[in-house]
């Protein structure tokens, strides 16, 4: 069976990557794109060699859609897709308010459509190995979790919209909290119960937090910190990182998702990394297509998105109140 798929908005920095992956799959027909910004959408449609359609026309001609919009418009796009009976693969975070996140979950449930999130880390082979090791009991009972998910500020955050609160809903905490929180939840099955956030802004010309350091407690009493800052210098050798160290009563395990890189030095351009490991996004799309075809929940579901959104919102509440806060789910 061929799944007919369209893109709802082309605002996101990952749009080109998803378009290429959709075009490459034999079991997917990449039908077209739509966008609030017709000019941006038409340019993207031309780039991908697909049709640009009005939202209702696109939704009438696809089985599933990828929401590549700004963070603050996810609810509107998902609700219109659900109304049309279209399954959704949605960029993260699921929403920028708990109200929107709940509305999205409810709309998908009521319409009987599946929603998955664009969260690639559970499809990283090193992360899967780490989960296998954890589930085999190699580290015993979890006590400590320490994660990082840092990135360059340049490119996507300065020239795009992800540092503009009206579109992004926040800064580094909105952008970079969910990946490692999801990884911890997925590997350990524990939930975040309390958050204390340390935000700061170190770059000139940035209106949101670019420093995002979180201290959390997990449902089994374990302690968990996460640095999800946009603090990597432009000359750092990679776009960012995604690491997690889990310490238990019988040992510890560490995963460095993007460690499989060559070191490349070029005259006049400095040092950077060339990734050679398996591409997590391929597995992400594979899982979504399979989930739709077999009527099951995608690996990272709307419910996961809701829970991770709740943690993100708690970070902002903690920053505002200047104290640790319980996560409200």
């Amino acid at each position: 069976m061929t799944l007919r798929v369209g893109l709802l908005s082309t605002a996101h920095v990952h749009t080109n990557g998803f378009a290429a992956r959709l075009s490459a799959r034999a079991d997917v027909e990449f039908v077209g794109v739509t966008d609030d910004d017709a000019e941006r959408g038409r340019e993207a449609a031309e780039r991908f060699d697909v049709a640009f359609l009005e939202p209702e026309d696109l939704l009438a001609s696809v089985d599933a859609a990828v929401v590549c919009s700004t963070n603050t418009t996810h609810r509107r796009w998902v609700e219109s897709a659900a109304d049309a009976g279209v399954h959704v693969l949605c960029e993260k975070p699921l929403a920028t308010s708990l109200e929107d996140a709940r509305a999205i979950v409810d709309a998908c449930e009521a319409a009987g459509v599946r929603l998955g999130l664009c969260m690639p880390l559970p499809f990283s082979v090193p992360a899967k190995r780490a989960k296998d090791a954890y589930e085999a009991g190699t580290i015993g009972d979890l006590r400590v979790a320490v994660g990082t998910n840092r990135a360059w500020l340049r490119d996507r955050h300065l020239t795009g919209w992800s540092a503009s609160p009206e579109h992004s809903g926040g800064g580094a905490a909105m952008d970079h909290t969910v990946h490692i929180v999801n990884l911890v939840r997925w590997i350990t099955g524990e939930e975040v119960v309390e958050v204390d956030a340390s935000f700061s802004t170190m770059h000139d010309g940035v209106d949101v937090e670019d420093i995002n350091v979180l201290s959390m407690e997990l449902s089994n009493g374990s302690i968990f910190t996460l640095d999800g800052s946009w603090d990597r210098p432009d000359d750092w050798d990679y776009w960012g990182d995604a690491t997690l160290n889990l310490v238990g009563t019988d040992g510890e395990l560490s995963v460095d998702v993007f460690d499989q890189t060559l070191k490349r030095t070029r005259e006049g351009e400095g040092i950077d990394g060339v990734y050679w490991g398996s591409i997590p996004d391929d597995g992400l799309l594979e899982d979504f297509v399979d989930a739709v075809e077999n009527d099951r929940s995608p690996l990272v579901s709307a419910e996961d998105g809701l829970r991770e959104t709740a943690v993100v919102l708690a970070t902002y509440e903690s920053d505002e109140r200047g104290e640790p806060v319980a996560v409200e789910y």
Binding site: V125, G140, D259, R266, E267, V274
Partner: protein, 330 residues
């Protein structure tokens, strides 16, 4: 269903059998080994019929292709009767111990019109394939210096690898991985100069190469008889516009320290955290060629040329002079 007959029951036969089991439309239908593969079959290929004799397997088992995982010096005598019967062949590297035997085998395969793919697995290792891709895209400019390192400690003493007559030693059996990669990436070799040291079942080989492009290569191949040492590979590929570096010791995307389990994930190349490991990719490529009859991604000429470079290194180590691959006598 593509039906494979495996020759041998050693380490590489095991690696291959486990991966065939994961590939759709392929079956290990038979295994032959003069020392009796019954135990191997029951453990790794339960559907297969066990044979003591390869030719008996060719005639008796209804197979499409053979996968030759036996000691190097046995390849010709096993491959010739296989190709005469129209069987396609995947043959472990080096394709043979001597150039004469390799060329005779290549002629037989050519006459029979079958697919023959040498198992230069390194071409399917994504770190090496990515480096070659980046070089071809111009990332380092014009390549000038290529430095490669490969350390493969012996797990056990006194194997056929230790017998120069059978394996050709470290310069033939181990360094050939890097020789093939370099030829694939930088082009043909003008000459090789090599030195070798052997003591107490350790063998170390150092080869310097001059490429026709003008580039220089250095291959450091090590067989320490020290199971406590790690398996390590490294490369540094420099050009007039850049440099690509890899060190397997720097790559550890997953690390486990456990009081309950002494051995965490290893850094063994057969256990790299990848969606499909290089051996799986190699076998899939071969099976695809068996099905389609397409020219294999690694040809028998590639296998012959890699063998020439490695034999030139051996000859250089023995004679103390530079040896051109085309000088190697059959």
């Amino acid at each position: 269903m593509v039906r494979i007959g495996i020759l041998g029951r050693g380490f590489m036969a095991t690696v291959h059998a486990l991966r065939y089991a994961d590939i759709d439309g392929v079956e290990v239908a038979a295994v032959a080994s003069p020392s009796g593969p019954t135990e191997f079959v029951s453990e790794y290929a339960p559907e297969a019929t066990a044979y003591d004799d390869a030719v008996e397997m060719y005639d008796d088992a209804s197979i499409d292709a053979v996968d030759v995982c036996t000691p190097t010096h046995t390849h010709r005598e096993l491959v010739e009767p296989a190709v005469e019967r129209g069987l396609d062949v995947l043959c472990e590297k080096p394709i043979e111990r001597t150039l004469a035997d390799a060329e005779a085998m290549a002629d037989a395969a050519g006459d029979a019109g079958v697919t023959f793919m040498p198992g230069h697995t390194l071409r399917f290792f994504p770190e090496y394939a990515k480096a070659r891709e980046r070089i071809r895209e111009g990332d380092i400019g014009s390549p000038g210096n290529a430095r490669l390192f490969r350390q493969s400690p012996f797990a056990e003493p006194d194997t056929w690898f230790h017998d120069e007559e059978k394996s050709g030693g470290v310069l033939l059996d181990l360094a050939i991985h890097d020789f093939d990669f370099l030829r694939w990436t930088l082009g043909d070799v003008e000459h090789v100069f090599a030195r070798r040291q052997r003591w107490d079942d350790h063998e170390y080989g150092l080869a310097t190469l001059r490429f026709e492009s003008g580039a220089v290569g250095h291959v450091d191949a090590r067989w320490p008889n020290r199971p406590d040492l790690p398996f390590v590979t490294r490369f540094e590929l420099s050009g007039d516009d850049g440099l690509l570096e890899f060190d397997s010791e720097d790559v550890s995307p997953v690390e486990v320290y456990s009081t309950t389990d002494e051995d965490g994930p290893s850094r063994d190349p057969i256990d790299e955290p990848l969606e499909k490991d290089p051996y799986r990719l190699e076998l899939e490529a071969f099976v695809q060629c068996v099905r389609s009859g397409d020219r294999p991604p690694i040809t028998i000429d590639d296998g012959l040329e890699a063998l020439r470079i490695a034999l030139a290194a051996v000859e250089s180590a023995e004679t103390g002079r530079r040896v051109a691959p085309e000088e190697v006598a059959a």
